[in-house]
């Protein structure tokens, strides 16, 4: 399940330098704001609101912060590999270094849910996670995220 439709080549951050979960979300919100033209504060608060229900750190060093934005016109994905893993209050307690942000328009409904499930299931694949950690630059990361499944496996 490649993620071509969810992430653009310019929405990949190969070595984001942050020291905490909050800072990571702040930086990602800033970058997402630039790429979507939405308010940075709005994105930050949307993501935090979801984190309040329970961390989106799904284990094995992966986190998928997400939320809905009223004025967005389509699903927007942003991937970052953190330069140094940070504590994300994840389920398994492991520090997180792979972060995928997904923002959905108010109207996305079932597409939002399906996209989130796809991202979670793709990143959970140990092969994919390993390849992402081995990739050196944005292009290589993008290639892994958008590889067709037969080559990725």
């Amino acid at each position: 399940m490649p993620l071509n439709d969810l992430v653009a080549p310019n929405a990949i951050l190969p070595a984001l330098k942050v020291n905490s979960k909050k800072q990571a979300i702040q930086e990602l919100a800033a970058r997402a704001a630039k790429l979507t033209g939405q308010s940075e504060r709005g994105i930050f608060e949307t993501l935090l609101q979801r984190e309040k229900l329970g961390s989106t750190g799904i284990g094995h060093g992966i986190a998928i912060p997400h939320g809905k934005l009223v004025r967005l016109d389509k699903l927007f994905g942003l991937f970052a590999r953190l330069d140094r893993p940070v504590d994300f209050e994840a389920l398994d307690g492991q520090p997180v270094d792979l972060v995928f942000v997904l923002l959905a328009p108010e109207s996305a409904g079932a597409d939002h849910l399906k996209a989130l499930a796809r991202i979670a299931r793709l990143l959970r694949d140990p092969d994919i996670a390993r390849k992402l950690r081995e990739s050196r630059d944005a292009e290589a990361l993008y290639a892994v995220l958008t590889l067709p499944p037969t080559q990725a496996a």
Binding site: M1, Q49, R50, L53, G54, S55, T56, I58, I64, G67, K68, L91, E106, A108, G109, A110, H112, L113, K114, L116, A117, R118, A120, R121, P149, T150, A153
Partner: protein, 599 residues
């Protein structure tokens, strides 16, 4: 001598048939086949055109036996309906059992009219005969299939199937009377309906109360409680019918009252009636099977199949969706309830009434209804478990059963002695917990009876007897079932994301764009699970919220703390090589999924 021989032979044949019925339950349990179907087949096989070659066309006897059996079955149905536990579904189930039957019958009527070429009233008669669902079939298939349905769905189905028979019987008998007496003004018909209903209800309620009084005030000898209740139920049936009330309604209501009041010897009464009901069903079905001539069935199979199909895919779903519309049920739940519209004993019994009163085309009705019931038991009966799984209304974990012994304590009714065999993997042994309302009294170990204090810690193979309130006995079972600790969770039931169980449904619905009843917005996930399950939550329990599956992930001290969210169906085809066959299979699967409502 010859007549004595004839009697002996009748006894022999009858007993052999019943025995065959009893033994066939083993087959049914093994293959999940609807038991009633086997009884019918045994009856048919023993009959005139089967290998048995027994000539039987005594409709009068079949009707009498059928009435007795049905009165007992309905009484037993009432006895088992726990009003307290089912209070939350009384409204939807009650509506299904009355309006639902009426709608089903009314929508089936045109099919019968055009399929059989009879009048509207006759069509309605056929509709009424197949209008009710069969309690025995529904209970048996749900329990024997090892299905653990969502509690609310299971409760609606059980209460509906137990309560809709009196209404269907009632409707059918009224239609028969209209047909016999000829056209009467609607007011007279309505008055007759009301008279039957009211008198039946009054006799049933008074009779039930009287029964409770006798059970508790008079010291019946040990062992006679069960027979007393069973015969009293028949007396109530007879009295109600004698005063032109509905005897079946009276029997059901009496059972409801006896089952929901505190009575002496409740355990033995229930066990006795269980046995009586089984026997009644076997006898009734075998007799009804004997009445049928399989050869003749073939001639009416065409219209019968049409009616069965219309009933299953149009009339029943329409009735269910209409009756459940005011209540919170998901589309999948409604589809499942529609699918579990198993027809059974009552239909065939009702179909013997036209035969009994010598109505024109009576044989046709009987054959048609017989085929409809047969088709329903076969098709719906056999596909019930897969349908439940497909529609996501069953839990992944089947309900294990603990074997409980209940002993009545003379002199009071608040407590009874409940005994269990200690299994190696029971939570009682593993975690050493007992609910505060149950007190261990005795331990039987290696055939020695010890007090709880003498015995010390229990071991596997011990029998433990606890003092507990009778109404809590079922709750106690949970502590004694042999149930290995959950190993790895079902991989298909893994959450994509996790949230704290303190999160409210409203917050989740907001973030994920889910449809939610506003009244539930402030409810926390932990409370939602507790309310919907009615049991302590366990890892792997599943509830549905809109398109999202909520999966109990972490439970601490009996309270849910973390919930997994499965946002979309697992994509099982993702990693399969895309062979042409695989593609066709997945396309088929999607097609089926689309048809039965899985997106």
């Amino acid at each position: 001598m010859a007549s004595l021989d004839a009697v002996s032979i009748t006894i022999l044949l009858g007993a052999v048939l019943v025995l065959a019925g009893i033994l066939s339950s083993l087959i049914a349990l093994r293959f999940g086949a609807p038991l009633l179907l086997l009884f019918l087949i045994i009856g048919m096989a023993a009959g005139e055109s089967g290998p048995g070659g027994i000539r039987f066309d005594d409709v009068h006897l079949a009707y009498t036996v059928g009435s007795i059996a049905l009165a007992l079955i309905l009484f037993d149905g009432g006895l088992r309906t726990r009003l307290q536990a089912f209070r939350s579904v009384l409204a939807p189930a009650g509506l299904l059992a009355t309006l639902g039957v009426l709608v089903t019958a009314a929508l089936t009527a045109p099919l019968a009219k055009f399929g059989l070429g009879v009048g509207w009233t006759e069509g309605l008669l056929v509709g009424a005969m197949v209008g009710s669902t069969d309690a025995a079939a529904v209970f048996f298939l749900i329990h024997a299939g090892g299905l653990r349905l969502r509690p609310r769905v299971a409760a609606v189905l059980e209460v509906e199937s137990a309560t809709n028979d009196p209404f269907a019987v009632f409707l059918a008998i009224v239609v028969v009377e209209i047909l016999l007496i000829g056209d009467r003004p609607w007011s007279a018909t309505a008055a007759m309906l009301a008279e039957q209903g009211v008198l039946g209800a009054v006799v049933g309620i008074l009779g039930g109360r009287a029964m409770v009084l006798v059970l508790n005030r008079l010291g019946l000898p040990q062992g006679l409680h069960g027979p007393f209740v069973a015969t009293a139920a028949l007396v109530i049936f007879g009295v109600a019918a004698a005063v032109h009330g509905s005897g079946f309604l009276a029997a059901y209501l009496a059972g409801l009252i006896v089952g929901n009041r505190r009575t002496r010897a409740h355990g033995t009464v229930v066990v006795f009636l269980d046995a009586v009901t089984w026997l009644a069903q076997i006898v009734m079905f075998v007799l009804l099977g004997l009445l049928v001539e399989p050869v003749r069935l073939a001639s009416s199979a065409g219209p019968a199949l049409l009616i069965a199909a219309g009933l299953t895919v149009v009339a029943r779903p329409a009735a269910v969706f209409l009756c459940l519309a005011p209540f919170r049920f998901s589309r999948r739940e409604k589809l499942f309830v529609s699918w579990v519209g198993l027809r059974g004993a009552v239909g065939i019994f009702l179909a013997s009434i036209p035969l009994l009163v010598g109505m024109k085309a009576a044989q046709l009705y009987f054959d048609v209804v017989f085929v409809v019931v047969l088709v329903s038991l076969l098709v719906q009966g056999w596909t019930l478990a897969p349908a439940a799984r497909r529609l996501g209304v069953a839990f992944a974990r089947p309900d294990p059963v603990a074997h409980r012994v209940e002993l009545d304590l003379p002199g009071q009714m608040a407590q009874e002695l409940v005994g269990y065999l200690i299994e190696a993997d029971s939570p009682y042994l593993r975690r050493g917990i007992t609910p505060f309302w149950a007190k261990p009294i005795l331990v039987v170990r290696d055939e020695h009876v010890l007090t709880a204090a003498e015995a010390g810690p229990v071991r596997p193979g011990d029998y433990v007897y606890l003092l507990a309130p009778p109404e809590k006995a079922a709750a106690l079972d949970r502590f004694f079932v042999d149930m290995p600790p959950p190993s790895s969770p079902d991989p298909r039931l893994l959450g994509d994301f996790f949230v704290s169980a303190d999160a409210t449904l409203g917050a989740l619905a907001e973030i994920y764009g889910l449809a939610l009843d506003p009244a539930l917005a402030a409810t926390s996930l932990a409370d939602h699970f507790a309310r919907e399950l009615g049991l302590p939550p366990r890892r792997g329990d599943v509830l549905r919220l809109g398109d999202v599956l909520l999966i109990a992930h972490k439970v601490v001290a009996g309270r849910l703390t973390q919930v997994g969210l499965q946002l979309a169906e697992p994509d099982t085809t993702a990693k399969q090589p895309a062979t042409p066959a695989g593609r066709i299979k997945s396309a088929l699967r999607r097609g089926v999924a689309f048809v039965i409502g899985r997106s």
